[in-house]
Symmetry: D2
């Protein structure tokens, strides 16, 4: 399924080396100012070739709006965003055409569909996430009208960890190429990624996302809990292996008396003293910061020979060619934000019918 | 949204202290033998009062099939399962009627809906999961026709951890009341839960789920990746704070060369030497074991006074009454299995149209 | 699919001779007063045995609310309505167990599902519509809060036609058993139905539905046009063969200059002079009366021998047993209204996100 | 909602005078040969300017496939089809920018969305149907693999009617510009349309569609009956006012004994002697011909002055400019076929999970 969302719905398309990728957004309310330069900024944060620690594929990732915007505003009809693939020159893919790269989707796509577009990974390429970022930018514009702010950053690379988000200045995330707001940790992370790259290997990491000013009441019982949908959205991003929100996996070690977030009255507003709940209780936002961690595995394409089989089952070896991301998390930051924005925009619209006005 | 699934769809209803809870299953293929005693067994695994380490609420959780089954088989029309609430006697709820229990859904439900059924938590009570288990039992029956086996167990309580699943005999899970297949760890877990219970507190834990014999090819790119939907399904269970599959959060520390699962040919079948992928590549099952961890926070209801506010914002205290689960994971085991079964049954049906026959 | 609607969603279940039928309503906004006697009134309008021109099956069609209502109001969680089947005594169904009744669903259900619940038609029985009427009653309660009024009536039986709705007093619909507000036409219709019944035959008819005070702006381009969804809803009712709105099939004979509805300003409100559009333009309500016709075929069960085959293809004959409706339209009136209410309630909620507030 | 279908899903976008229109098809099974010249043939049947009785807008309606097809076959991933608007030169739209054309969607779009893209009707223009035809062509290719044949034709223009489809040779539909397979009736229809055009007026008509060789068992009880979904699909086409299948509105006049379709055994195949059911019983295909009528109103744009109001409520007049279709039905034939194909393709895939294999 390449469609996502209930009321704010996106439908994405495109392969890594086809003519174009894109997205159709259905359900964006009319009257939203569509700031095109903001959309471009978001795409640029994700695009390849932005720094020495990312893949050097050449894509400007410029987009065109084909519909749904008139005189600078959304009209309520589908907004189609279109991004041409520039780097689609005929390459030599013979090494992967018949061979299954370890921990890629080559084998499973063949098994499911009978064959696959093997050029650059086809639909399973992370190139697909550019469409998510474009759509997420519009979701962010919608959310900004009610004050919601979404900030993701790199909180871990390999064993290197940044401090807890409450001890960071999130406005500094874009100050370095690894997108970690702690400058000294960032420096180490960059050094680690560079070292891994030189050893022709890859490394994993964690992106943390913080959402401020979420209106109280977003999220739907029982299956569409806010964190359940956030989890699905994050886990749908290539290379993601885990999701936790609030106290997450660490929370299991605590006692209820330590973990519970007591309520208090702050000048007429009901708030919690602590926030192990991660801003979500019973699947519904309570107005506190929403925060969660997204675990990314090391990129599967490495520049070393690995044992594998071809599609006829013959044993062989394969190695990456060209240049790939040695670590995916710096470029994953805007993708995580985009998916978070898509989830929140959808729940924001859905909440409009929670009760009789 | 109280509806879940695309082709194998469930619609659940019911509050903790209303007359009944239940589920309507739409899309179960015709001709499936509906083994009622199996459904009852599953419900009994989840029901309260089953051991000294669970809540003592009295519910037999017996069900009635209202439709969709004829002469012992599914007819292809909706299967409605109905469970009467026995323990719905009028209790004294005055302590929570106007007061927000910390880390419960009281405040958010009020904020979202304007008021709430406060009796026993209403719809936000984990009682709702009985309907999931009933539906999941039917999903399991469907999956058994193609050999899929789903086994969950308690792998962690507080700081106490069981070994990796590959070192356990999963047939021993039901041998003890905590549902950990390692007898000596189980004993310690039971002691810990009992100690926590006596201190009027609660503790969290982790449920691990292992799925064997999944057909290759289940899961849909790009948003409905198999692990993304499993993640959503698990995160929709009450008290869940995190989800990871395969190498999960630990995997981020590895290098690609360590993490990649090399393919080999095992007597004509393409397999992987390791399984950091957790049986899923590119969002699609590859035939290896699917395994994942689900983190449960400590139960929010504790038998101690906690500071909080009432719905008018006045500061007050609240304490649990009656007897509650000191740790949710033993009873969560069948719930995790049920949600996994619902996800797989749905993808199994969806995969029927992946390619021209 | 036994689920209907996008935001105001119903999930129905139940067979003609199973223990019960019912419906789960998901998405009803919180805070709606649930007037139970109104729901009962609607069910009573549909129930069998209400007059000499309907089937004499004995059903009180009393319902029970199992969830989603607290202190008389909807809570925002699923509302489950449950109706026990009283007349489920073991009858002799040997004449239809193996034999395909002409123009019934016996053959197609067998072909699709491999077997069927043959008792009284099973799921394909019009008994299923009681669940729609119950859910529709709640949709009507929601719509009443914004002033929408839905009135259906019998406008044709066989060749007997009532005048155009604008020449009728719709408050008189319930004054006679055929539910035609024109008393003299009603008398002839009743005589015709009775005559048909005595000749052991059946006859078709048309139900017309008029919706007043619809807010401007309901309906979604391009596939979910208001009249398209109304059409689907009506065509999903048993025995319906056609749907037309506004000028309908007659409108094809007109010229554009005759058919177009010119706008004028009525005291500040934009209105149309004529209403060939039937209150819907471009799939969106314009505030004028919505009106449409629904064609019902003659009931398939007749008390005469008809040629047919059994499930092994042997030629045989079959005849109806017991007493059945000689004409379905009098009892179809509340069903048509219910489906119209479900459609409008859904679009009413969906319209809340048409534009930035 | 600009998304249609459950498993074979389309998402369309584009305005009449924006840069492009298009469609994303999600859920097309892998391995289908995508015959591009067939898609172009279908688009050419719909395109403007094809004869003297259609609008003279200049559009070649050539399409480009952006994704989802590799080496001539569908890959199972989304197929995006893109059609540039050629005739988007800046015209003078001042006459409709502020003025509501009678029986158009101008007023309702403004009322719903707050403003509208007024150029050529924006999203409410029938130009949007080109995307449906492109998607429908792919649905037809899928259906052809199981033998389904879909043929629509013009059966009525104004008062001029063609004989019943069973008396026509449907292979002659494309032999004349009005697409009526009866040559002599076609001639009269063309003369009528031409006369209406010269009088600066428009006229309505009916398109009949016949579907042969539908597999038995397509259609889903109870809300997604095959004819209910066909009805919705047809009613979602611009200018459609009514839908009837099988005996339709005429059927209401018959007695059950006349209307019922008796079964017989034709060489081992169960068939019906008559086909008032229109190939669908209980919402499920029975293998006989499916046939239905779709009523189109006269085109709303006429070349005469009509009274209306502007958006501030001032009374004024408006008249059509340029050249428009004097009758929509000739060009509607491929649109009706396309929507029928989309419905059947979806049900064909859905039926794959009706029963245990």
């Amino acid at each position: 399924m390449n469609i996502y969302g209930t009321l704010f719905r996106i439908s994405t398309f495109g392969e890594s080396h086809g003519p174009a990728i894109g997205v159709v957004i259905d359900g964006c309310p009319a009257g939203l100012e569509i700031n095109e330069s903001f959309i471009q900024t978001e795409l640029t944060r994700r695009k390849p070739g932005q720094s020495k620690i990312t893949t050097q594929r050449k894509e400007s990732d410029t987009f065109k709006i084909l519909s749904g915007v008139f005189e600078g505003k959304s009209t309520g009809t589908p907004i189609a965003l279109f991004i041409e693939n520039e780097d689609q020159r005929s390459k030599d893919y013979s090494h992967i055409q018949h061979t299954y790269r370890p921990s890629h989707a080559d084998f499973t796509y063949d098994a499911k569909y009978g064959f696959r577009d093997y050029r650059g990974g086809g639909r399973s390429s992370a190139r697909e996430t550019a469409a998510r970022v474009a759509a997420g930018a519009i979701a962010k514009l919608l959310l900004k009208t009610v004050g919601v702010e979404i900030s993701a950053f790199v909180s871990q690379v390999g064993d290197l960890k940044a401090p807890h988000y409450t001890q960071l200045n999130l406005s500094k995330t874009e100050d370095n190429i690894v997108r970690c707001p702690d400058a000294s940790v960032a420096e180490k992370m960059i050094a680690l990624i560079d070292e891994v790259r030189l050893s022709r290997d890859t490394v994993g990491g964690i992106v943390t996302c913080v959402i401020k000013n979420t209106p109280v009441g977003l999220g739907e019982p029982v299956f569409d809990k806010l964190h359940a949908e956030l989890g699905k959205a994050m886990l749908s991003i290539n290379a993601v292996k885990g999701f936790e929100y609030g106290s997450g996996f660490e929370g299991v070690r605590l006692r209820g008396s330590q973990h519970n977030d007591e309520f208090y009255n702050e000048g007429g507003k009901i708030r919690t003293k602590t926030n192990h709940s991660g801003g979500i209780q019973g699947g519904i936002s309570n107005g506190e910061d929403i925060y969660f961690n997204v675990a990314f595995k090391p990129v599967a394409t490495i520049m070393k020979d690995q044992y594998t089989v071809d599609k006829d089952g013959n044993e062989t070896t394969v190695s990456g060619k060209g240049r790939h991301d040695p670590c995916v998390v710096p470029r994953a930051v805007p993708i995580v934000e985009a998916m978070a924005a898509l989830v929140l925009a959808d729940f924001y619209l859905r909440a409009k019918s929670s009760r009789l006005s």
